[in-house]
Amino acid sequence: MNKAVGRQHRAGRLFIYGCLLLVAVYYLVPLFVMIMTSLKPLDEIRTGSLLGLPLNPTLEAWRVAWGSACTGVSCEGLKGYFWNSVFMVVPAVVISTMIGAFNGYVLTQWRFRGSDVLFGALLLGCFIPFQVVLLPMARTLGFLGISGSVAGLVFVHVIYGVAFTTLFFRNFYVNIPRELTNAARIDGAGFWLIFFRIVLPLSPPIIVVSVIWQFTQIWNDFLFGVVYSAGNQQPITVALNNLVNTSTGVKQYNVDMAAAIIAALPTLVVYVVSGKYFVRGLTAGSVKG
């Protein structure tokens, strides 16, 4: 390799890593503050610098947040609420992602008259402020007999998530050459066969995006969770909110921060695990057949 090109290359790499690192700092500072705070005893937070390292690091706040912080009249921390959220999030994410994939497939490969208008209407609709929905939806859920149940929450999350999953898949599938599916049709493949044999194998990156989005939105949702869940089925965000909020009590910042990080762990796990499906070449490989 030419020496000058090599140097240029190295400078380029340096630039890339420099930028990535610099931005990473911006992203990490708040997390740093949160972790440091969660490791300090309350006295140190009250008197010391917020950005400083803990003088007497302790995991006490994490223990309290997990097992003994009050979230109402019961003081058992966040641990009991984890599964509530899981039972709500998993079906809601799976169903809404599936529907989104089917919709995106129809909207790009099987267009019919009015399909674009339908898509447009769907997108426009997702701008409806959720606060508008609360009361009529409460009445609807009461009417359907699923108010205050996990099923009701899943229902609501699927309804208001489909617009986005459809958007993701539609805009990804638009780039799949029509010749590919047309050729399959000439070969006699039907609607589902083409989807499962040709379209779905191309989809991992966008499935990851869709799952990340839906999982995060639903896991972190507070408004629907608090309004449509019954007492002992409240999702973890509601518990977190109860834990950190106090109208006239003493604020325990270390416990708050630990609890926030605990509540976010499943989402982080999803990010790490799903990340490997971002690998390049999947698409190119399949397109080339």
Binding site: T47, C70, V73, T246, V250
Partner: protein, 417 residues
């Protein structure tokens, strides 16, 4: 043998008749989810369960009950209201208008509530003459929390009028301390402002302005003067105040950074948590010009109509339990407030609470007992919100003249009614 059996049956039946308890379930919507408040709510749960009923917790914290109100409205709309919900002040009347509340007159008669409760408190709990709500506590809002150490070092005297306040604040500032610890949030701005209005205009003026909402009082020279004082107070706060939580402002007084804070008696919890003693490490005094007056903020539970049957039994038991001295004492010791019912043993309470109790009774006699505007005791939430907007706008916009603020206040209140 047969006789014995029937005697036993009679005995069992009579026990049932005497106690008349059918175990029921109560679902209680509240926002006491942390620390002392949660412990207090748990105490209520324990007392109720001792009577054989079950408690289904429905805790929704956030924004002083804002989230809980949203949830409550959805639940009522979906046709499944909770048994009881934490609602206070004139909002009780709004819910009464919707026709969804249960009446507690029978329990009230049995418990003699009319004798136990001061008339001012009882009136808030009634809708069209019937009890629909139960009070748990009385907060005093017009407190000033003082760090006596700083006053001593600055050679200043704890002010009893707003003129003295300016003198003292100047000295404290000159000595290098922050005179007033403040958190720049709309409700805190208004909490300070209502103490100023009370201190300058007196109880009658306060009532005309914030209870009767008379335009002639809202847009008056007295109100303009109050706005001017509010701006002076701002002058004595630090520049990092906007957005600060009230408890951090209290911490400034505790840590000796700031000399005073205007805040209700829940601030006491922060002092206690930091191991400080009233009269030694800190002082609780009435805000300048408001000695002898009492701005009250009463927390209460409203009971919803849940139909007849076991849940109604449980509901009535809940109402009775809340009024019991045992609960009122434990709850208020935890929360820094004083019991809503009169003639309670007071030896467990501290000196600040004693002052509060005395002034509560005294002010009721001299008609200087007024509802807190900033805490939703004097108006509907729409009007309260409109006042908040004007006060906080004025507080944060140094270019807005006090005359303009008073004028806007009268207009905004009229618009929101």
């Amino acid at each position: 043998m047969r006789k014995l059996a029937s005697a036993a049956m009679v005995a069992v039946m009579s026990v049932c008749l005497i106690t008349g308890v059918k175990a029921g379930e109560v679902e209680v919507l509240h926002w006491w989810t942390s620390g002392g408040e949660a412990r207090s709510a748990a105490e209520l749960k324990r007392l109720l369960e001792a009577k054989g009923h079950t408690w289904k917790d429905f805790a929704v914290a956030g924004g002083g009950g804002e989230s809980a109100m949203t949830v409550l409205k959805s639940r009522v709309v979906s046709g499944k209201p909770p048994t009881a919900a934490q609602i206070k002040g004139p909002s009780i009347q709004e819910w009464g208008d919707e026709g969804v509340l249960a009446t507690l007159d029978e329990v009230a008669k049995q418990g003699g509530w009319d004798e136990l409760l001061p008339a001012v408190v009882a009136n808030v709990m009634k809708y069209k003459g019937s009890y629909v709500a139960v009070p748990v506590n009385v907060h005093r809002v017009n407190w000033m929390w003082v760090n006596p150490d700083i006053f001593k070092k600055a050679g200043a005297k704890i002010p009893t009028t707003w003129d003295e306040f300016i003198v003292a604040a100047e000295k404290i500032k000159a000595a290098g301390y922050i005179p007033v610890a403040h958190g720049g949030q709309a409700w805190q701005d208004s909490t300070t402002f209502e103490s100023v209005v009370l201190g300058i205009g007196g109880a009658d003026f306060y009532r005309k302005a914030f209870v009767d909402l008379e335009p002639s009082a809202l847009n008056s020279p007295t109100m303009i003067q109050a706005f001017d004082v509010l701006r002076k107070i701002k002058h004595y706060t630090d520049k990092d105040a906007p957005g600060r939580d009230w408890n951090l402002a209290t911490a400034m007084v505790i840590n000796g950074k700031a000399a005073m804070q205007f805040m209700g008696d829940w601030a006491k919890g922060e002092f206690t948590a930091a191991g400080k003693k009233p009269g030694v490490d800190y002082e609780c005094v009435a805000a300048p010009g408001t000695a002898g007056s009492f701005t009250f903020n009463i927390d209460s539970f409203v009971m919803f109509d849940v139909g007849a049957g076991s849940s109604q039994e449980a509901q009535m038991a809940l109402a009775a339990t809340i009024m019991e001295p045992e609960f009122q004492e434990v709850f208020n010791l935890n929360k820094g407030s004083i019991p809503a019912r009169l003639n309670m043993p007071r030896d467990k309470f501290d000196s600040c609470a004693h002052t509060s109790m005395d002034e509560f009774v005294a002010s009721a006699k001299t008609a200087t007992l007024v509802p807190s505007m900033a805490h939703g005791m004097s108006t509907f939430s729409s009007v309260q919100g409109a006042i908040y907007d004007v006060v906080t706008k004025f507080y944060n916009d140094d270019k807005m003249p006090a005359e303009k603020a008073a004028e806007t206040l009268a207009a905004a209140v009229k618009d929101a009614r």
